[in-house]
């Protein structure tokens, strides 16, 4: 008896998935646990398994289609079975919508005015596929003439190319070729008469429409929600970075750590945060509407920038791990994040996050709180500057961190206690190796 395979819920937050790639095709045998497709969820690309034994009789969801959890994606059964009725049922239940609303957070349905905008007919002059192909812009204000009927401007490939290279709008050029086709000579004549940008090789940059990935939608939804609902406030602290920098250098040198194994200042900062959170547990908490949940565990996320967005894998129980362990774990998580190989359990459900833009030379910045956490630490770069030490002006090395706090959970003084502990740990960093 054939069965319908459905879009599986692959992560706790997933409400819909996009079929990225089918790994099996019609006619392939499958057994439970076998991977049949790759599915893009709100943050990652995951593998969808079969739950039945049999043959894929029909693929119902094409690659690229976005479907809610539970929607039929394929029919699995015995070879040769009549599945016409099943296909009928399945097809009826597939939502016809190509894209549905983002799934994470509380997002209202599009308002009436938005719906209207969606239904607006296309502009009366739409470029032909060829024109889009050659990316030649056509001004919408152009008057219709004989040669623009059906939106097509006749031009030879060479003329289109020259127009593109010289930033010439083909709609302004008069064609002298057969049927009014624009030829190379027309483009040259147009330039002669001062049209376009004569002789310049400037290419007019075109607007590009970039489709939203699941990850981009998730980032948009969650961060908009965070900034619009959480009362953020910011505490900035500049620390003397010599001790932590020296410690990092001597650890790397003494342990003969090289290349991938070297520890970074960020690893030490993460360790410092884990100890601060133990010392100031109010910051290691979440707002729960009718109560505040103070977490017993210390799970710290590291914001990793990846192609097309960012993701925050968590180092679990960071307070109970050594700096070297933390360092290894971050490297491993970051590399899998870049390959889109993280499991949902690895990038959800943390208690605090660190975001470091030091490697980009950013001296200080503020970060948006990663809900449902109560705070996030934004770390800048090591800066060499003149500082006053014992009444003397000396060459110093400083590091600026900014703690963004959820005022519903963390008050100014609490945040300040966290940062003063942070200064203690980082300016006397041997405690990071013993704590």
């Amino acid at each position: 008896m054939a069965k319908i395979a459905e879009m599986t819920q692959l992560s706790p937050t997933m409400s819909e998935g996009k079929i990225v790639r089918w790994l099996k095709k019609s006619g392939d045998s499958v057994s439970p646990g076998e991977i049949i497709a790759e599915v893009e969820t709100d943050k990652a690309v995951m593998e969808m398994e079969a739950f039945e034994t049999g043959v894929i009789l029909e693929i119902l969801a094409q690659e690229g289609s976005l479907l809610p959890v539970g929607a039929p994606v394929a029919i699995i059964g015995k070879s040769g079975e009549d599945i016409s009725a099943l296909v009928e049922t399945a097809r009826k239940s597939i939502p016809s919508k190509k894209e549905s609303a983002p799934s994470v957070g509380t997002v209202a349905a599009p308002s009436v005015s938005e719906k209207k905008a969606e239904a607006r007919p296309q502009e009366s002059i739409s470029p032909s596929p060829q024109e889009i192909e050659s990316e030649v812009s056509i001004s919408a204000s152009r008057k219709e003439s004989k040669r623009h009927q059906g939106g097509l401007i006749k031009a030879s490939p060479l003329a289109k190319n020259l127009a593109l290279q010289n930033g010439i709008d083909l709609g302004e050029v008069v064609g002298s070729g057969p049927d009014g086709r624009i030829l190379k000579r027309d483009i040259l004549a147009f330039q002669e008469t001062g049209g376009g940008k004569k002789g310049s090789s400037f290419v007019k940059p075109q607007d590009r429409k970039i489709e939203l990935t699941g990850m981009r939608k998730t980032i948009a939804t969650r961060l908009a929600h965070s900034t619009s609902t959480i009362p953020h406030f910011y505490l900035t602290l500049e620390i003397d970075a010599y001790p932590i920098d020296n410690l990092r250098n001597s650890i790397n040198k003494d342990l003969k750590l090289e290349g991938q194994n070297k520890i970074s200042v960020n690893d030490l900062i993460l360790k410092a945060c884990s100890l601060c959170l133990r010392e100031v547990p109010e910051v290691n908490s979440s707002w729960r509407e009718d109560h505040i949940l103070q977490h017993g565990r210390v799970d710290i996320g590291v914001a990793v920038s990846i192609e097309g967005g960012l993701i925050t894998p968590y180092v679990r129980d960071a307070d109970r791990k050594s700096v070297v362990e933390i360092s290894h774990e971050i490297k491993e998580l970051a590399s899998r994040a870049r390959e889109r190989k993280l499991k949902p359990g690895e990038y959800t459900d943390g208690t605090f996050t660190v975001s470091n833009l030091g490697m980009f030379g950013i001296s200080s910045f503020t970060a948006v709180i990663n809900e449902p956490e109560a705070a996030i630490l934004a770390v800048g770069s090591l800066v060499e500057k003149a500082v006053i030490k014992d009444d003397n002006l000396v060459a110093g090395k400083t590091l600026t961190v900014t703690l963004s706090c959820d005022h519903r959970v963390v008050d100014g003084a609490t945040g300040a206690r966290f940062l003063s502990a942070f200064r203690e740990f980082t300016e006397h960093p041997l405690r990071l190796l013993t704590g």
Partner: protein
């Protein structure tokens, strides 16, 4: 440089190669005692004897097969078809044995054979004896197809064909045998896959080969008087094809016209047109055009034969139209 006729140039190529290599022999109808139906093998029987210049009965399928067998055991045959129209009787030998033997024997049996003879229309020879076979044979992987226009090319390319270890389809033009041209005195050969730029120009590229150049070159001359500068390419070698020279020329002129003696449908020009639009699309300022023989069997009447073939007038009016 000596001035030779096309037939003398072919004769010279065969003799130069046969003098050097005793494994080369010539076989076909009338090649010996009659000196060749078109007098290409003049004097060769006297020079090389009956073992190396062999007259055959009218049996294309038979002697083409004998030639392929001889090539399999190490000889280097030159098989003359009185005209390429008669190769139809031997086409199974050519396509199924000569072209594929090396491939199907995993390289154990290369077939170093040359099939040569007169192709195209000859003047009132009518429907069954006036056909162009370049595209027929160019369609088959394993065959090289050569179609020279000038005496110098005929000599240099035939030498390359005889030396080549693959079967070569060497299509001479019936109407060119008496044409004259300068041929270098010293020994030389011309590699396959190199087109010859017959005339430099900047407004349009005409791609052609063999007899069709008889119309293209004077047409280009006349167009030049009108101020239209035509670049003329003689492919010489149909397969392998010198694509680079074609594209380089089109990058300069932005227009291509292909002139061939054969029919339009599935003619070799359609392959060239496809390659041009695929690889020079962004350089085209006009659609690629072709001039071919009319889509009818060759008429017997002289005036109709003329009307059915490409001509100077057809080329000139097509070029003017393309430069509109």
């Amino acid at each position: 440089m000596a001035v030779l006729t096309y037939r003398e140039a072919l004769n010279r190529a065969m003799c130069e190669e046969m003098d050097k290599d005793p494994n080369i022999f010539l076989m076909g109808e009338e090649v010996g005692h009659y000196d060749g139906a078109y007098k290409v093998s003049q004097g060769m029987l006297a020079k090389y004897g009956e073992k190396r210049v062999i007259d055959t009965p009218i049996s294309e399928n038979g002697f083409a097969g004998v030639g392929i067998g001889a090539a399999m055991v190490g000889l280097r045959p030159i098989i003359e078809f009185m005209t390429w129209n008669f190769s139809l009787v031997a086409i199974d030998q050519i396509i199924n044995s000569a072209a594929k033997m090396n491939y199907m024997s995993a390289g154990q049996f290369p077939i170093p054979i040359v099939f040569r003879g007169a192709g195209g229309a000859g003047g009132r020879l009518a429907a069954q004896h006036s056909q162009s076979f370049e595209s027929w044979y160019a369609h088959i992987p394993g065959l090289k197809v050569i179609a020279p226009y000038s005496p110098a090319d005929a000599c240099g390319l035939l030498k390359t064909a005889i030396r080549d270890n693959n079967p070569t389809i060497f299509i001479e033009s019936e109407v060119l045998y008496g044409s004259r041209g300068e041929v270098p005195d010293q020994e030389y050969s011309i590699p396959f896959g190199k087109a010859d730029i017959k005339r430099e120009g900047s407004h349009i590229t005409i791609i052609s080969w063999s007899r069709a150049l008889l119309y293209v070159l004077p047409a280009a001359e006349r167009l030049a008087k009108e101020g239209i500068s035509v670049e003329v390419l003689d492919l010489r070698s149909i397969r392998p094809l010198d694509e680079e020279t074609i594209y380089t020329s089109i990058r300069k002129t932005n227009r291509a016209l292909i002139v061939e003696e054969g029919w339009e449908v599935a003619g070799f020009g359609s392959q060239i047109a496809y390659l041009i639009q695929k690889n020079s699309f962004d350089y085209l300022d006009a659609p690629v055009e072709r001039i071919t023989q009319e889509d009818v069997p060759m008429p017997y009447a002289a005036n109709l034969e003329k009307a059915s073939l490409p001509s100077e007038e057809k080329i000139i009016s097509k070029v003017r139209e393309m430069l509109e």
